[in-house]
Symmetry: C2
Subunit: 231 residues, 2 copies
């Protein structure tokens, strides 16, 4: 078969990206949900999404769609997988690539996102979403849990400076189970990947909790010598 016919005879498809955006605020793991603007199902709750353009990498499409629909930029983002059932989108046959992202809510413009019709909802507040978006969300949460166990993803969700109680609280949210505070401290500090600062966060107690910073250089150096992060 000639080059022309091999490629030219193949069918073409709409390809979308949908973003599962995780944030952490007020001690809760949250998700960014928008209300859909177009029919069918205009007004229904949805993940942030959009179409992949000509000559645009799918990774770039995910970044662009997130920026255009919420104003959010410069965040951790990774592909989850493709969702390709023939009837998954009620409007047309669309193959969707799901991306999950982690953002520091405090460092982004909440107002801007809200102006775009986006809401931060905690895990237990998530409504029925359109199409297979609830399934995407379930899969993303599973991936987040899998990956956060062996990779320092958590720090993407916290402000640059954070306390150990805050960090523990984050992992308790991710895994939805209590973690022993002494064992947690021991484990984290033993890794020697945090820099202890001369500052305290007094927002949650009178005594105040020491602030730390994730030291990515140290982490990368350790990783090259076989070290594996584990929560």
């Amino acid at each position: 078969m000639s080059l022309a016919s091999f490629y030219a005879n193949a069918p073409r498809h709409l390809v979308a990206v949908d973003c599962i955006i995780f944030g952490f605020e007020d001690g809760k793991l949250k998700l960014l949900i928008i209300q859909r603007k177009v029919d069918p199902l205009a007004g229904a709750f949805s993940l942030v999404g959009g179409f992949v353009q000509e000559n645009e990498s799918t990774d770039h499409a995910a970044i662009r769609v997130l920026r255009q629909t919420t104003g959010i930029r410069d965040i951790f983002m990774d592909q989850l997988r493709a969702y390709g059932d023939a009837g998954r989108d009620a409007g047309a046959r669309v193959i969707s690539l799901a991306y999950y992202a982690l953002i520091r809510i405090s460092e982004h413009d909440k107002l801007l996102a809200q102006q775009h019709g986006a809401h931060w909802l905690s895990l237990h507040q998530i409504p029925e979403l359109i199409f297979d978006h609830n399934e995407m969300l379930r899969d993303a949460l599973e991936r987040l849990r899998d990956r956060a166990k062996f990779h320092p993803l958590g720090f993407e969700l916290l402000p640059e400076k954070f306390s150990l109680p805050q960090l523990r609280n984050l992992y308790e949210e991710i895994y939805q189970r209590p973690l022993d505070k002494r064992n947690f401290r021991k484990k984290i500090l033993a890794m020697d990947i945090l820099e202890k600062l001369d500052e305290k966060d007094k927002s949650t107690s009178k005594k105040g909790a020491h602030l730390y910073r994730f030291d990515r250089k140290k982490y990368d150096a350790l990783t090259q010598h076989g070290f594996v992060f584990e929560i």
Copy 2:
């Protein structure tokens, strides 16, 4: 924006599936590689691939492509992820969904696959592949290792009846490191998910090794009570 223009104005893309097929034979983990039939790069080594058709789910496309190009059917298959860089395919802009699959080489028709121009190559024999197929393969191997650690995937690669030395050999191949035979036996048998048969495999020793069968019913039952497989 109206329904019509929202979907109709979006660009359409060629969407392919590419399959990373793992097998296990002669004590080696192997991969199914074909020689590409079309230009550009006709004759070069490649994964098995093809285009997603109209109204065809992507999962179905992967199964169909594998069957059509190699005659192989009814195997374990799971999506890896999408590869969507704009210039990844030299012939046209193609978004590719990679699927990895596990097959029992002994139960499939080797001849049929060979007639389709497919070769089983062991990990160390893999040549330069077209486009980003080497990257797909690396990612698939990583996924296989991740998943095989906590899920009973290995049995998909072995014949229905297998010996413990065979099983250990398989995991040694997957992880490319030696496993202590006493500890391995202990761990596997302690899970109580294998059925010991009254048969021996004498093909590799004079004494003969007992044959076992994976008991999926038992495994499923245990899993429902919180049991987690781990190698």
